[in-house]
Symmetry: none
Subunit: 197 residues, 4 copies
DNA sequence: GATGAATGAGGATTCATTCAT
DNA sequence: GATGAATGAATCCTCATTCAT
């Protein structure tokens, strides 16, 4: 077998495990998920997981990174250029709605965990800055296009938008109705846009 | 001994334990905190804790409720009437800054846990609605006073404000600089206010 | 207060505790009965129990001795002289039936415990010999009266009768119907009597 | 590995654990035996025991059932057909003598426990009826062969014999001398046989 | 490479006993 | 004497990790 094939195979197994771990961690939380749960979900043996991840914690980090990568991807998609600002807001919300709840649960667990884990916090911080940059880029784009005023604090507004998004995720997880969240998102963004146009 | 004294004493011990548990849970997270940690922090024996709380989970619930009660208190304070809207924004932020980080860590852990625990989710949901109401009241007050337009969606804006607040908490926990958060809060709120005035 | 009154009082409390302990031990077994159970049943505080008994084990011994004393009393009653042998058999059975099940449960627990506890075993052994003697006395009485043959082994028959009695207690505890036991007792004794007349 | 081997292996381990548990429970009693004791006796780790038995209680049930199965086997052997009745009595006694004391201790603990445990009581009751049936069969056989009279109550006599046997076990456990028990058994049975011939 | 049986450290919970009031 | 709050030793059970097959 060529190394390429082997390499490919390894990556496949790795992703299979990560997928299973996300599933399991979302359902039970990190500490209450047993490696057996992950193994069963992945349809693999516990031993095999240890061939790919040094420890449960190692697996958790891999998930965090995976989650972050995905989040970044999502945010990028979210802030993809588009001319019509109003349809943007709607798109934002629809995007928000479609996101799997699974990852959101892990998101909060990750946040909580980061409070105790400097390494993880560093990774998350870096990623967050990344997200901010993307958002700032979007705001600046709107400024260039004349949709937003030139003298606004692009950074601050960008952080505000991302934070609003995060805050609505809290509501979503707590079971606050879609209606509430959608209106909050649309109306608040609308107000902001008016405020900075 | 009069029952009153005994009752008072019991409550004191209870609060001592809750305080210790918040400390410990914040530091290590619920699952990784040993009852020994809580006991040592409270300067009590493990056995005594079990005289006041049926189980570790029971203690966690008590903390959640305690946290919620405190959060409600804080939110209420935050939305206390004040004439000058601009100073309000600043006050909001200062208030935000002063909040102990300990509780915030638990806040996220609670959110994550609620994803798996219907009972907890119900409690959190109820509390959240309560917070929303308070915020709505504040928004309506501003409308009455003529600071906000009459035709805005008070509900949506209130939810948006609370969410923005929650989202900034995420940043705070991840170590995002105060400067970033303060500016984001002030500028975003300013934009919103302009947008709805 | 005169020492006599105090003494009397002490004994009363002691018996109250023993009664409660028998109740509790019968229900849950020695190991699974908490001193709290005994205290509650006796309507006393745990502390008070320790004023009368050095330890839980000490209390158990007291119960065993109490039980033995009672058993001896019962057996004595059972073997009280009576002319009519046939009515004796019936009386035996009725006696058997009336005995509280509570004590029987403790009886077996005591037996099991004695297997591991030399001190207890010694006490039980002594008591057993005592019971045998009483039974032998009864058998000898029947011989004297001409109901039983002179050349039988009074000892052996006495032990046999007591054992039959014990064995039927096993059935009783397991829920074997009264009918079964009564017939077994009456018919087996009848056979024995015929065999040794 | 073929399933057959695995299955066989599993059964072996299971029996090893049961054997160790009987040993340990006999020595210390159910409640005072630590799972560590069982594990050490079985020369296995605690964890391994939990791979085969869900809980300590589960293990206890397994022992009870094992004990019952063995008891049934023994009783069956005991009542195996034999022509010479007198030699039968001796054989009964010799059989009685050979039985390991370990199981007898557990027998009483099981009885005591059954007083509080309906499930266990049901199992024991069923088994007891089984034993009775075997005994009844033996008695009927003697009737057929002309050793016993036709008009006796086979059921009652069978229950009486089994009860006598059980009762003698009490004596054995309490340390009553072999001599006493042997004579009691032989003479009482002899009397019964005479009484029903 | 894959497996899953075996391990044993770790932690929640219980409860006999003590002792200040 | 009586109480019951406080203690902490004791023990069941779980589960991450290892390693022989």
């Amino acid at each position: 077998m060529s190394p390429k094939v082997t390499q490919q195979y390894k990556i496949e197994i790795r992703e299979k495990i990560i997928k299973a771990a996300i599933d399991a961690f979302s359902k039970y939380g990190f500490d209450r998920t047993r490696m057996d749960d992950v193994a069963n979900t992945a349809d693999l043996s516990k031993g095999t997981i240890y061939l790919h991840f040094k420890s449960k914690e190692d697996l958790f980090y891999a998930i965090c990174e995976n989650n972050l990568a995905e989040a970044k991807q999502q945010i990028s998609t979210m802030f993809a250029k588009k001319e019509d600002l109003v349809s943007d807001i709607e798109r934002f919300y629809d995007f928000f709605r479609k996101k799997k709840t699974a990852n959101e649960r892990i998101f909060f667990e990750t946040i909580a965990e980061s409070a105790r884990n400097a390494e993880l916090r560093k990774t998350l911080y870096k990623q967050r800055m990344n997200i901010f940059e993307t958002a700032v880029g979007w705001v600046n784009l709107q400024i260039e296009r004349g949709f937003f005023r030139k003298n606004i604090d692009a950074n601050a507004i960008a952080v505000g938008l991302v934070s609003l998004y995060d805050g609505l995720t809290v509501n979503k997880l707590l079971g606050v109705s879609e209606d509430y969240s959608k209106k909050a998102w649309v109306e608040t963004i609308r107000a902001i846009i008016i405020g900075i146009s």
